[in-house]
């Protein structure tokens, strides 16, 4: 019998969970005995190494050790935040032919973020198979609520490459509310804030009689623990320069060691007001002697350095409330999820914005995976009485030629949903109509994310305006976009040709899946 699992595919850590036969959620443990697995892939000379074991790669070959691949998933290379990442990441990013962001490994090998995530997912799958002694090929995977259709598709592609069929893509805040057991308590209006390694998610979720209704979701795609680490590193690099007199800003290995130390000290400072930062060997002198670096750090120092980031928490929260017409006082309970919410300054800031203390969650790292596992059980019918209703985070728009984008599906529409537009030919015997599909809110195409250009082809010969093509846009429960076209006069379904599309091609995904299956 095959088994299904719930997976929280995180920016820095991934967690997998199942619901046991007795209805108790269980977190799967890594071979090292930890409940979370670092989302790390080290492309070592002997092949890819995933998880805890890949930490070794961080230490001596950071240029081929990929962390935070989730942030790159389904992203365009010309995105300003990707530009910023290009400057700070120890590994090299490169633009794929279709404008996606890929990773260039040192040997001139290119790898897509989908493949990196696939390796992480396959490791989780192996872990689960070892525990159950049965094949695992279906999963619920959680994703940030603000993920656009391209990123959702990329996540599904990654799963397919790893040999996992996605039962549902579940938004992380919803998973968190579910994992928290919101359906068991009284009906309430929740605000879920999920601050993880790389992403900040906000969702207004109403729970009423077992129905989870997501009213609005917002977030910041590039705000998380990694950014705090980077802010700390920047300050430490400056400190090294002033106190030791040498510039390490271009030394990727030294910066990476500093980043790991900064991460550890950040964790320590969540529990105490002071901690010691220590790097046994920061750089090597030409003589071969190592230079040690260490300094005490105070919590208020950390908070000062991360203040610009903490201030970015407020706008998405306000935006989420505005979209569902709520005031801060309407919210019944605030849930904080994600490792970064352990940081006192984060709790304080969210408490200040909301005018109310957030609830304590015992296991903010695991609650999302538990939610995913509950969703698996729900879809398999082992638990009943829960229904999740989600909305689209971004509108879907269409444009024809040089025209402005026109909204087809509005933001915050309930999924699944479908809308359509009709296009007429403008010339006699016009044989194809090309149109673009966008995700976003603005009439100006450059403000929106381009999902692809499609063409309805082989149109019947007729005079101008006599051929009407109806294009239907369907957003399914996962939030992925499907297109279909019909010629209205004859009623025939039309084949849509992909002129340009973001993400991996279907054939490429299938090829990579085969390749990975053969390798293991």
């Amino acid at each position: 019998m095959t088994r299904s699992i719930g997976i929280d595919l995180g920016t820095s850590n991934s967690v997998a969970a199942v619901i046991d036969a007795d209805g108790v959620p269980r977190i799967l443990t890594t071979p090292e005995g930890s409940t979370t697995m670092p989302s790390l892939v080290w492309f070592s000379p002997d092949g890819p190494v995933v998880g805890e074991a890949a930490r070794e790669g961080l230490d001596h070959s950071p240029d081929v050790t990929i962390f935070g691949a989730k942030r790159l998933l389904g992203r365009r290379f010309d995105h300003p935040e990707i530009k910023k990442l290009t400057r700070t990441l120890p590994y090299q990013l490169i633009e794929a032919p279709n404008g996606d962001t890929w990773i260039a490994l040192s040997a001139g090998k290119l790898v897509s973020p989908e493949e990196v995530c696939a390796l992480i997912l396959r490791e989780i799958r192996r872990m689960a198979e070892a525990k159950f002694g049965a094949p695992v090929n279906r999963a619920v995977i959680t994703i940030p609520a603000w993920y656009d259709a391209g990123q959702r598709q990329a996540t599904k592609d990654a799963a397919q490459i790893a040999g996992i069929s996605v039962m549902r893509l579940l938004s992380e805040p919803t998973a968190a509310a579910l994992g928290h057991g919101a359906h068991r308590g009284a009906d309430r209006k929740y605000l879920v804030c999920d601050l993880g390694g790389g992403t900040f998610d906000v969702a207004a979720v109403d729970v009423e009689g077992g129905i989870f209704e997501v009213l609005a979701t917002t977030g910041d795609a590039f705000l998380g623990g990694d950014d705090v680490d980077r802010a700390v590193v920047d300050n430490l690099v400056r400190d090294v320069r002033t106190s030791r007199g040498f510039d390490i800003s271009t030394d990727t290995i030294a910066v990476e060691r500093l980043r790991l130390a900064a991460q550890r000290v950040k964790h320590d400072l969540s529990g105490s007001a002071g901690a010691n930062l220590h790097v046994p060997e920061l750089v090597q002198l030409p003589s071969g002697k190592g230079v040690e670096y260490g300094r005490p750090m105070r919590r208020d120092e950390l908070e000062l350095w991360s203040a610009p980031l903490i201030r970015r928490l407020e706008p998405p929260i306000r935006e989420a409330l505005a979209r569902c017409g709520r005031k801060t006082s309407d919210v019944g309970e605030i849930l904080l999820v994600g490792g970064m919410t352990r940081m006192p300054a984060v709790r304080r800031e969210i408490g200040r914005v909301m005018g109310k203390e957030p609830s304590e969650i015992a296991n903010p790292e695991e609650v999302v995976a538990i939610g995913a596992a509950l969703e698996v059980a729900r879809l398999e019918g082992t638990i009943e009485g829960i229904l999740l209703i989600d909305v689209v985070a971004r509108g879907v728009m269409m444009s024809l030629g040089q025209s402005e984008c026109e909204t087809v599906i509005a933001q915050s529409s309930v999924v699944p949903t479908r809308e359509h537009r009709v296009f007429a030919t403008r010339q006699d015997d016009q044989s194809r109509i090309e149109f673009d599909v966008w995700e976003g809110e603005s009439p100006d195409p450059t403000d929106n994310r381009h999902l692809g250009r499609y063409a309805a082809v082989d149109l019947p010969e007729a005079s101008s305006g006599d051929v009407l093509v109806m294009v239907e846009v369907t957003i399914d429960t996962d939030g992925t976009v499907r297109l279909g076209a019909t010629e209205l006069v004859s009623g025939e379904r039309l084949q849509l040709e992909q002129v340009f599309h973001a993400g991996l091609a279907r054939s490429e995904v299938a090829r990579l899946a085969r390749q990975l299956a053969e390798a293991s």
Partner: protein
């Protein structure tokens, strides 16, 4: 869709089937029977007609008359108008009786108004329903009937609320539908056909909810949630609506109060030069005929005019308006809606089409006098 009750009629022989529809039904549509539940006039019912070959056909209808039976509490005598019992159904029963159609399946959905063959859409369920156990087959048929009904209904009818419903009523009605129809609720049956139907039904309910909500926001009856879709003409009427993404100048969004802003009828406005290439006299004649309610003749006049002026957009759109009128007189509101929208897709300045659509959305579609006035 207030809980549609299902009535079961079992006919063990084909003779009885024939008797049922030729004798028992009055005027071919009216069925009187005693039912063990209180019924109200206007509530929907579905007749499950079980045929000798084990096939059950779901036929939509609604209660026309209802009176409680004295001495038998909870029982009602009702008269049902089986609106879904059309010639197609009879033809299918006859085909089955003659042994032509052996595969049990759903009643074929009426072809979508403009798109003709319904066959491809039916393939998956048709193949599937053979393996479905009895209760699933019933569920399947119920869902199919429901889908057919919803596809042709206006948004408020999909949700089962009045045209003037408040945002809270709309929400409550939508919530009830989702609780019943969400595909996740039938996922455990592992029946792709049923999941698919449930998904389609949920898509329709969600879309109706979002469209009504957008209309309420437009009127100031609800808080804005997110971005807005510019309401294409007629999107509150039916679902088989069209809007042209290809128009030179976007038509004014028809909000609920848009009628006052619609310019005076076509006859007085000069024809738009770039679109009109002649044929104004035909237009005038056709319009006069439509004003009289003579849709069929108007259609012929326009068809003749289109031979002479094949490129005239006003003529083309008026032709679709005429066929819409013809459909309306037969009570085929859905067909009419799509015809009107096709008219607008051809020529977005067609005021008659815009006004008729608006009329359909706001008023009783059977008010023919009011519709004729559009042309005067």
């Amino acid at each position: 869709m207030a809980a549609g009750r299902t009535l079961h009629v079992r006919c063990p022989t084909w003779d009885q089937v024939e008797q049922f529809y030729s004798r028992k039904l009055r005027k071919g549509k009216l069925l009187s029977m005693k039912v063990p539940f209180p019924a109200t006039v206007g509530s929907p019912v579905t007749l499950g007609l079980e045929l000798p070959n084990g096939v059950t056909i779901a036929i939509d209808g609604h209660v026309q008359k209802a009176s409680a039976i004295e001495g038998e509490t909870g029982k009602t005598w009702i008269e049902v108008e089986l609106v879904g019992f059309n010639d197609d159904v009879i033809a299918r029963i006859k085909a089955m009786a003659a042994g032509i159609e052996k595969a049990p399946g759903a009643t074929p959905a009426p072809p979508p108004p403009v798109a003709a063959p319904a066959e491809p859409a039916n393939k998956l369920p048709r193949a599937k329903s053979e393996e479905l156990p009895v209760d699933e087959r019933q569920l399947f048929q119920h869902l199919t009937a429901e889908l057919r009904r919803m596809r042709s209904a206006a948004v408020h009818e999909v949700l089962g609320v009045s045209r003037e419903a408040t945002v809270d009523e709309v929400r409550r009605a939508w919530m009830l539908l989702v609780r019943k129809l969400h595909p996740d609720l039938v996922a455990r049956r592992k029946a792709p056909a049923i999941t698919h139907l449930a998904e389609e039904l949920t898509i329709l309910s969600n879309r109706a909810y979002d469209r009504l909500r957008a209309a309420l926001v437009h009127e100031g009856g609800a808080v804005a949630v997110g971005s807005h879709v510019k309401a294409p003409p007629g999107w509150l009427v039916g679902f088989d609506d069209l809007s042209s993404g290809d128009r030179a100048q976007p038509l004014k969004p028809t909000g609920r109060s848009a009628v006052a802003s619609v310019p005076p009828p076509f006859a007085n406005t000069p024809a738009v030069p770039q679109a009109a290439t002649g044929g104004e006299t035909f237009e005038t004649r056709a319009r006069a005929m439509l004003g009289q309610g003579d849709a069929d003749n108007a259609q012929e006049v326009l068809a003749a005019a289109l031979v002479v002026y094949p490129r005239s957009r006003p003529l083309r759109s008026l032709y679709y308006v005429a066929s819409a009128m013809a459909a309306l007189f037969k009570g085929e509101v859905m067909l009419a809606t799509s015809q009107l929208e096709t008219a607008l897709a051809h020529y977005d300045q067609c005021i008659e089409a815009a006004r008729l659509l608006d009329h359909l959305r706001r008023h009783d579609p059977s008010d023919q006098e009011a519709m004729k006035r559009v042309f005067r």
